[in-house]
Amino acid sequence: MNEITFDNNWEQLGTYPIITEHDIVKVRQLVRHHAKDFRMGIVEQTRITTAVSELFRNMYNYAGGGKVLIERGDVEGKNALIVTCIDEGPGIEDIDLAMSDGYTSGQGMGYGLPGTKRLVDRFEIKSEKDKGTVVRVMKWR
C-alpha cells in the first residue's frame, strides 16, 4: 500500500474538524464550493461531494469525529482537489474486506468504501488498529 504523505508542496485550502453532524454538512458544502472553483462540471462536483460525505459520516459514526484537510496540488500533471480525512478512531481491521463490494451489500452497512472509490480519481487509505485511519481522495476532472 502506498504511503500517504503530508510533506507535499500542496496549497492548503483549509483544515476543518468533524465533530458534530452539522460539521458534516458544512464541510461537504465547502468541498463542493472548492470543486466549483476548480471548474468541475455538475456531475463531477456531485461525485466528490458525495464521496466526502461518505467519508465524513464514517469518521463521525465510527471514530467519534476527526479532521479534514482540503488541498490543491499537481498530481500526475493535473490540477487536483485533494481531501484527506484523518481520525484517531479504532481503525479498520481488515481493509481488503472493507474495500470489497460484498462487504457493503445487503443492508448497506459497512463503510461504503468501494462506492466512494468509484466516485473519485484517486483513493488512498491507511488504517491501524486502535491508532486511527487516514483516507485521501483526489479529483481532477
Binding site: 453532524e21 452539522h22 458534516i24 454538512v25 461537504r28 458544502q29 463542493r32 455538475i42 456531475v43 462536483q45 456531485t46 461525485r47 461531494t49 458525495t50 460525505s53 461518505e54 459520516r57 463490494d101 457493503t104 451489500s105 448497506g108 461504503g112 468501494p114 462506492g115 466512494t116 468509484r118 466516485l119
Partner: protein, 129 residues
C-alpha cells in the same frame, strides 16, 4: 438568529389523498431519520394513501439519505401508502448508481405532475382489488 437544526422540521403538506414533502435543505442523518418518522406519523394521522417526496432541490444524495428514502418507501407501503420520489437531478441519479444504490422497488417520477398521475393511477387500480 441561532436555529437549533435538531428542531428544524421539513414541512409536510396534504393535498387530497396525498402528502407532499419538499426537501429543501441539505440534511444530516438525524434530520433524515426525523423526517422519516414525521412522514409515517402524518400518514397515520391523515390516512393519506400516497406520499410525494420532492428532491428537486437536493444536489446530493449520499448512501444514508438514499437508504432513508428506500426505507421510507417500504415503511409507508406497510402502512398502505405509496411513496413516489420526484424531481431527482441527473447528477444525483448518476452518483447513486455509481455508489451502488439503485433503489429497486422505489417509485420515481420526473416531476410532481407525473408523480401525482402515478399515484392516482395506483389508487384507481387498487380500487378494483
Amino acid at each position: 438568529m441561532n436555529l437549533d437544526l435538531h428542531e428544524k422540521r421539513i414541512p409536510i403538506i396534504k393535498i387530497r389523498d396525498f402528502l407532499i414533502v419538499s426537501i429543501q435543505v441539505d440534511m444530516h442523518d438525524k434530520l433524515a431519520i426525523q423526517l422519516q418518522s414525521q412522514i409515517l406519523e402524518e400518514i397515520e394521522r391523515t390516512g393519506a394513501k400516497g406520499v410525494l417526496i420532492d428532491i428537486s432541490v437536493l444536489e446530493m444524495v449520499d448512501s444514508f439519505i438514499g437508504r432513508m428514502l428506500s426505507g421510507m418507501a417500504s415503511m409507508a407501503a406497510i402502512m398502505d401508502a405509496a411513496v413516489v420520489i420526484v424531481g431527482m437531478q441527473p447528477a444525483v441519479a448518476i452518483t447513486l448508481v455509481e455508489l451502488g444504490l439503485e433503489m429497486p422497488g422505489v417509485d420515481t417520477a420526473l416531476n410532481m405532475e407525473k408523480g401525482i398521475e402515478m399515484l392516482e393511477q395506483r389508487l384507481a387500480n387498487s380500487e378494483f382489488l
